[in-house]
């Protein structure tokens, strides 16, 4: 079933067309990757879907509803969560508090009329998520004290705490060591299938390991779309990546 349907998306910055009539469809539970050379429009498309950039043309429908006029917060409440290129955490809050804050908007509202009920429910959610990310030992540490890789893991825990239906990942491996990337791949592969993933990543080994569908952008337009194997062997894509990285 189609979860996200972006059609005819166009974004211009002055005379530069960052996106020019791009279509993108993500289904429930799908792992979809966006690749392309620098300046292809990958992050701009992620911004449009996340709500931080308003396209000049085109529609974005999520779960059958037009979300084009909604900001990032309203989209997050509907189930679109994002992980940024630079881990965005609350540095003076502990790791647990970070997850609690992220969980609050979508935590089960049944206990909301009890004083502190929602926070307690969010705290119950935080423990297992931090454990899943391997952050239990630093749960009481301020997030600002954590290493880059741990902050990335914390951000994933925060995104999952919001119970997303679509997770937008913007170069999640950026700045991570090889070992941390390995850990990240494990974490992302273990994500529940109820969560669809839209991944923007330069590292093609990561893309092929994590995705079941790949869309290639070049100069703001869709160049190709298909399974990782189809993309890997596509002459068009090989030409786009002129050095033959694919």
């Amino acid at each position: 079933m189609t979860l996200l349907n972006a059609q005819e998306i166009s974004v211009r910055y002055g005379s530069l067309a960052a996106l020019d009539g791009v279509d993108l469809c993500v289904h429930d539970g799908q792992r979809h990757a966006l690749i392309g050379p620098n300046g292809a429009g990958k992050t701009t498309l992620l911004n449009v879907i996340g709500g931080s950039t308003r396209p000049q043309r085109g529609t974005v429908r999520f779960d059958g509803r037009d979300v084009g006029r909604l900001g990032p917060g309203a989209r997050a409440r509907r189930g679109i969560n994002r992980i940024h290129q630079r881990p965005a955490v609350f540095p003076t809050l502990t790791a647990t508090e970070n997850v609690v804050v992220a969980a609050l908007p979508r935590v089960i509202a049944r206990r909301r009329w009890w004083p502190g009920g929602r926070r307690r429910a969010a705290q119950h959610l935080a423990g297992p998520l931090l454990e899943q990310m391997g952050l239990t030992a630093v749960a009481a540490e301020p997030a600002g004290h954590l290493a880059h890789g741990q902050r990335r893991q914390l951000e994933i825990a925060m995104a999952l705490a919001g119970r997303p239906r679509l997770l937008l990942l913007d170069e999640p491996a950026s700045g991570l060591s090889a070992i941390e990337v390995g850990r990240l791949v494990e974490l992302l592969q273990a994500l529940p299938r109820a969560v669809a993933v839209l991944l923007v990543e330069h590292r093609l080994d990561l893309v092929y390991a994590l995705s079941d569908t790949v869309t290639v952008l070049r100069d703001g337009q869709t160049l190709a779309a298909g399974t990782p194997d189809e993309i890997r062997t596509s002459p068009l894509v090989r030409q786009a990546y002129a050095d033959g990285v694919a």
Binding site: G50, G73, A137, A140
Partner: protein, 336 residues
């Protein structure tokens, strides 16, 4: 020193200060007792400034507006309707909250210096209205002869400076306790998160403007309650009590004490009043100079305030968590 030791030391200092404040009226003269009562009122406004500036991230020069609204509402009620302290306190807090609610659209969508300018304008507008609305406020002459308050129905009126001071102390201690409890709730957590990274908070699905509005109104209620204490303490008010110099002193005090803590706001307010009112007698004409020097020294040497000076005076403590061998092996960047 570990965090636990520091927390205990802070608790001990707070208990000592509270004990000192309780016995103060039997130790100092009536003038100082009355001054202490006024200081408590200002310290409570300082708490509201710290709540907005340090916790919600909205630096303000306009908390004198709800402070004045609360004081005048209390004075009018005290003169014409009821001399019961609880009634006056509720009316004053309500007036402060109402004024803050009316100014929410102006304040919560702005940030940084713009908030300072807007709140400064609101404070000045309120002082102008107080000076011109003679039928209610008495104009620039103010309102005098406000009857002494009785805390509850059936209790005697507070006729002495000592009694009024102790009433103010009980109210301030209670309200600060409420603020401290609220800061530990979900609302306090979300406000602190917003101060760290508002965009991230919004991206998590939180309605940031709603949270800031709540904080603004709560701070207005606290400032309004403080206005009631000012009326109780001096039984006279005029627009001069709520001018720009009071706003500036409050922000100055909160910055000196440390914007991120209630204790800092109290220490800052006490320091500022001490320098302004006590030093006035010792070094006539030099009190503003001393305050300015204190402010510059604090911002330069202790940017987080005197009550949060540890991080500046000592090298930062190592993270409490020591990685296991397995963690060190798998996360080599952890100990960079």
């Amino acid at each position: 020193m570990s965090g636990e030791v520091i927390r205990r030391a802070r608790g001990a200092v707070a208990a000592l200060v509270l004990a000192g404040l309780v016995v103060a009226p039997w130790v100092v003269d009536d003038y100082t007792t009355a001054l202490l009562a006024r200081t408590l009122a200002l310290a409570l406004v300082g708490v509201s400034v710290a709540l907005l500036t340090g916790v919600a991230g909205l630096p303000t020069l306009g908390q004198t507006a709800p402070y004045a609204a609360g004081a005048y509402a209390c004075a009018v009620v005290g003169s014409r309707i009821s001399d019961v302290g609880v009634v006056q306190l509720v009316v004053a807090a309500g007036a402060g909250a109402l004024l803050a609610a009316l100014t929410v659209p102006l304040v919560v969508h702005a940030r940084g210096v713009i908030v300072l300018m807007i709140t400064l304008a609101i404070g000045e507008l309120v002082v102008t209205v107080l000076g011109r609305w003679r039928s209610v406020t008495g104009g620039t002459d103010g309102l005098a002869g406000i009857p002494a308050v009785r805390p509850f129905w059936g209790l005697p009126a507070l006729a002495s400076d000592q009694a009024r001071y102790l009433y103010a102390l009980v109210v301030v201690a209670t309200l600060i306790g409420v603020v401290l409890v609220l800061l530990r709730t979900r609302a306090g957590l979300v406000l602190r998160a917003g101060r760290d990274d508002e965009t991230r908070l919004r991206a998590s699905g939180h309605r940031v403007a709603l949270h800031l509005s709540g904080a603004h109104i709560a701070a207005g209620a606290i400032a309004g309650a403080a206005g009631s204490l000012l009326v109780v303490a001096q039984q006279y008010i005029s627009p001069a009590d709520f001018g720009f110099d009071t706003s500036a002193l409050l922000l100055l005090g909160v910055v000196i004490g440390g914007t991120a803590s209630v204790g800092g706001a109290l220490v800052g307010a006490a320091l500022v009043i001490a320098v302004r009112d006590w030093l006035f007698g010792v070094l006539p004409g030099y009190a503003p100079l001393v305050l300015g020097a204190l402010f510059v020294a604090t911002v330069y040497l202790l940017p987080t305030g005197v009550t949060r000076a540890r991080g500046r005076l000592r090298p930062p403590a190592a993270p409490a968590h020591q990685p296991t061998a397995a963690e060190q092996a798998t996360v080599p960047e952890l100990r960079r």
